[in-house]
């Protein structure tokens, strides 16, 4: 049976949840709880070897890869 996920696309942190046993349950990131609790940082990054990173790993490498990262993507929605 297909399930519907609810997404909270936050400026700093994002989260996704699904109904399990009649209750909304947050889907945890593979990295476990981060600075934002069960939510994960709203970061996306492309490394120099074309690897796509999302969430916590993308945040951790921000210092080393300022050109390849995109943070607070929500604020840029609708812009070119």
């Amino acid at each position: 049976m297909s399930k519907i996920i609810g997404i909270d696309l936050g400026t700093s942190n994002s989260a996704a949840s699904v109904m399990i046993g009649g209750k909304p349950t947050i889907i945890q990131a593979a990295e476990g709880t981060s600075v934002g609790g069960k939510a994960f940082p709203s970061y996306v990054a492309f490394t120099k070897d074309d690897q796509l990173l999302v969430g916590e790993p993308a945040r951790r490498q921000m210092v080393t890869n300022p050109e390849g990262k995109d943070i607070a993507a929500k604020r840029k929605m609708g812009t070119e």
């Binding site: 476990g32 490394t47 990173l53 790993p57 993308a58 951790r60 490498q61 210092v63 080393t64």
Partner: protein, 214 residues
């Protein structure tokens, strides 16, 4: 159910046909029509009775299934609550066992502090504190905690957290040159990433020109 009704219809129509045939054998025409109408109404009545019976059976089945579903839902809800209680109780038990292990090390720390407060600063105290550290490391190892090897290794965002960089032309780019805070794995899962400082090559005008060309 539909098939049954259709079968019933077919049977009834056969009966009607045979009835009509029987009546055909009679000589009186009016009597034939009356008999035919009576047969039709009888067939319809039987069909309605049959359908009512079927409806009643389905209603009973539906009620039975609904009641079964309600019991199952109540059972499931009770089971979920029971499981939640069991999980909470297990977590409490594990926390208790963990704290008992930590308390042993804490007691040693208190003793060491008491000794230091009494003005003893000799090598035996240092040895004691080193012993406490060894005990603590042993405890972490027993619990499945492993230190993340970071120094002089290439940066990996899955286990390392880059907090800064230093320009160093001797080291390979993005190599860890300093560990500010050690990171740990708990059962092969990152419990805390290592906070590290990386090496960066000096960017020359030649590099910038090459990058612009790309």
């Amino acid at each position: 159910m539909v098939e049954k009704v259709n079968d019933g219809k077919e049977e009834n129509s056969e009966e009607t046909d045979s009835g009509v045939l029987d009546n055909d054998m009679d000589d009186n025409g009016n009597e034939k029509e009356e008999n035919s109408e009576e047969t039709d109404s009888g067939v319809l009545r039987r069909e309605i009775e049959f359908l009512n019976g079927e409806l009643e059976k389905e209603r009973e089945l539906s009620e039975k299934n609904l009641s079964k579903l309600r019991y199952l839902m109540a059972d499931f809800d009770n089971y979920r609550k029971q499981m939640q209680k069991q999980v909470e109780s297990k977590i409490e038990e594990n926390r208790g066992q963990l704290f008992i292990k930590i308390l042993k090390i804490y007691d040693d720390c208190v003793l060491a502090l008491e000794t230091l407060k009494n003005g003893q600063y000799d090598s035996t105290v240092v040895g004691g504190i080193q012993g406490i550290m060894t005990n603590f490391e042993g405890f972490m190892k027993d619990e499945g905690m492993v230190e993340i090897e970071s120094m002089n290794t290439p940066f990996d965002p899955n286990v390392h957290d880059a907090i800064g960089f230093v320009t160093n032309d001797l080291a390979v780019d993005n190599t860890i040159v300093e560990v500010v805070r050690k990171g740990y794995l708990l059962n092969n899962k990152v419990l805390r990433p290592s906070s590290v400082i990386l090496s960066k090559r000096t960017v020359t005008n030649k590099d910038i020109n090459e990058r612009d060309k790309e």
